[in-house]
Assembly symmetry: C2
Homo-oligomer: 143 residues x 2
């Protein structure tokens, strides 16, 4: 964990929040960089709804990615970045416009390959779960 | 295939496009309801970018969901809807702000469980692939 990495610079206000996170209305409610866990809150907007009026599953996937990603990002060294290689989402319940809580954790931190897991909740009900594989890269070498 | 279902009513302008699709800047370029294939174009906006300036993987997942979903939706009866149960995405290449092409198809259409596949391209390069499982339900019974 390096407080000079981009994640902590965003948290400290030295860098602006990434646009994707702002679009999803993210708010960090708990960050434990040492444990590799994170809790966040998203604002599911009317702009994310499908023809049935529920939140489109893909936007829930975006929230899960934006929950698992930061769980790992909080632990990176300065100059490192961790693009997602695989994202697997299971949908348990339809989600509505409003607040959605997300929890994510590092399942296994390898030298460069990392396994992540996360869940979304609305009104204390589980709505979606996910796993992801990410690869730690240096920003200098690109993704 | 029923031209009175919600998908074709949206295509015909009788119903408004779903907000999620509008947010992703979707445009249908080819629809073959009989074959269960579809081609679309998305507008990847600056609001979808991650700290590296690339399109956040979750928003690519949303595009893939919004490409595979319509491939199935075009074949549904009026009053049917097909929520996604599982979505699995693999990321092959970073995507930038701009146009993204999507292709999707029905791999297997069961009585209610359907298997779908899709890909995204940017500048003729493959950027992400996905499979999904969806379940056909009646809107009257909810999701």
């Amino acid at each position: 964990m390096d407080k000079n990495n981009f994640f902590w610079q965003i948290q400290n206000g030295a860098l602006p929040p990434p646009p994707a996170a702002a679009t999803l209305g993210i708010r960090f409610t708990a960050i434990d960089g040492a444990a590799g866990t994170i809790e966040v809150e998203f604002q599911a907007r009317p702009e994310f709804t499908n023809p049935a009026g529920n939140i489109q599953g893909g936007f829930l996937a975006a929230m899960l990615d934006d929950c698992m990603g930061p769980a790992l990002a909080a632990t990176l060294a300065a100059g490192e970045f961790a693009p997602t290689l695989n994202l697997n989402v299971a949908y348990q319940r339809a989600a509505r416009v409003g607040l959605i809580q997300g929890k994510a954790r590092i399942v296994k931190r390898g030298k460069d390959i990392c396994f992540l897991a996360g869940e979304l909740y609305q009104d204390d009900c589980l709505i979606a779960t996910a796993t992801a594989t990410a690869m730690v890269r240096s920003l200098a070498t690109g993704v």
